[in-house]
Assembly symmetry: C2
Homo-oligomer: 274 residues x 2
Amino acid sequence: MPRRTGQDREVDVSRPSTSSSSIDRQRGIDRAIGLLELLLVRRQPMSAGEIARHLGAPRSTVYEIVKRLTDARMLEPVGSGGQVFFGRTMHLFGAAYLEGDAGLRRAGEALDALSAETGATVQCCALRGNKYVVLDSRDGTGIFHITSDVGVEVPLPWTASGRVLLGHLSDGEIRSFIPPEDFRLPDGSALPVQRFLDDVAQARRDGFSETTGLASSFTWCQAVPILGREGRADLTLCIVLPVDSDAMQRKRCLSLLVAHARRLGHAGGDRRIA
Amino acid sequence: MPRRTGQDREVDVSRPSTSSSSIDRQRGIDRAIGLLELLLVRRQPMSAGEIARHLGAPRSTVYEIVKRLTDARMLEPVGSGGQVFFGRTMHLFGAAYLEGDAGLRRAGEALDALSAETGATVQCCALRGNKYVVLDSRDGTGIFHITSDVGVEVPLPWTASGRVLLGHLSDGEIRSFIPPEDFRLPDGSALPVQRFLDDVAQARRDGFSETTGLASSFTWCQAVPILGREGRADLTLCIVLPVDSDAMQRKRCLSLLVAHARRLGHAGGDRRIA
DNA sequence: TGACGCCGTCCGAAATATCGGACACTCATT
DNA sequence: AATGAGTGTCCGATATTTCGGACGGCGTCA
């Protein structure tokens, strides 16, 4: 693995599009946003130096930014090695967001109900950039939980929700939307793009999607769309069953999912036919 | 050798307090932090112009900052009047914070238990600056709920938790810590400072605090400290009962509170004696 | 119709925040 | 002891960002 020091500033050709860092001097606010996104992806405390290395930012600048964010308690010191992670203020911002977003709040209530009704792990998911992300979840009951963290970005082809969330895109749009490497599954095998496109089309017809053995070999996933004002799947309701659950149980779960999602959805009827 | 921090550049006498920036040019990141804090206090969508007015910031700058934060989805457009509020990314940051802070997460589990055991509104509270703030809560069951929002800042003398959270301060420190206007209660009456100091002292002795008719006339509040590593009350567990609840029920609730808080607390024994 | 208040965008100029580098320090490892 | 890698701080210079103001729209009210 090549060492990445502050040198990679002059990689002009090999930097495709996003996070285009030319020879640039960046704004503090952009550095701050990058820093927070980095912590979100890494999901563990980092020191200022470490952040600077990963961001390709000057150390002195990162120290300054970290200080400001720490004063505002958007970051908090963790441990004794000068590391920081998200702070309490972020929790308050997040809670305020939830208060303002009736959609996600109501979805959370549906998760409570679904969790009680099924005992399985249930989630509410959405698109974030060109990735799939869990926005909220309730862990299943029982000795072994199947869990996944809120906020972790996952390639769309790995998930049932991914098939539902892309229903509003054409095949061509989907091809250019998803990075090619995302079609490689966690087990190393490659998912044929056409099969994924077929899955999306089928999910569009059926109003739900089921997958198994994709992200993990021991799960059977079901996802249904929560339709927004424009008839697009803004959110999904999703249930994670053990792969050996019987067909009857699956059918019951699916109908529960559909019922909750329809109640939550904005576009009442079957706009997806159009 | 005198230390030169970035602060003492313009040590003018005419700096009244925070917020009211005179003629100065501020950093983008500070503007951004101020903007987010403003939204947290206002708890409703605001337009860029409105934000600029409240912040005393140039309109053009605020538009720029809002654009950046919106691109990062830390803010989201709301309505059609160009208003913005916290965005989905904030929710993810907040969730990541919760994942990293075992203390608050465990307190949340205690709230679940307390809520089930008592049916009342229960909260986890802490200090934020020189104010009291609810970090997490579970609403009571029954027809009428007594609720309060996560993240709303409240004067410390209005609350039972306030009396518990200041146990580590001396009378003098408390006097200078709390803004004088915070001793005026919501009903307009003034709480004698000495009475508040006595309350804090008693809470320190008893290991809990009870108040009634302070923040509202119809509530009876109980608060107990969750002790941190240094034996200080970092968090409180708090229960809100109707003012007409009977003594027996109150006693039961208090003992439940104490049991949960002791289990959560770091300093096991009675460090407060020291 | 005109006056007013908003929103959103654009621009040049000047103040300054970012940057690179240097320093002192600690802690392991050689 | 010497080396290396890390943290945390400070400083001057310059490329840049903030700022103030102007502009064109839109809607409302008188």
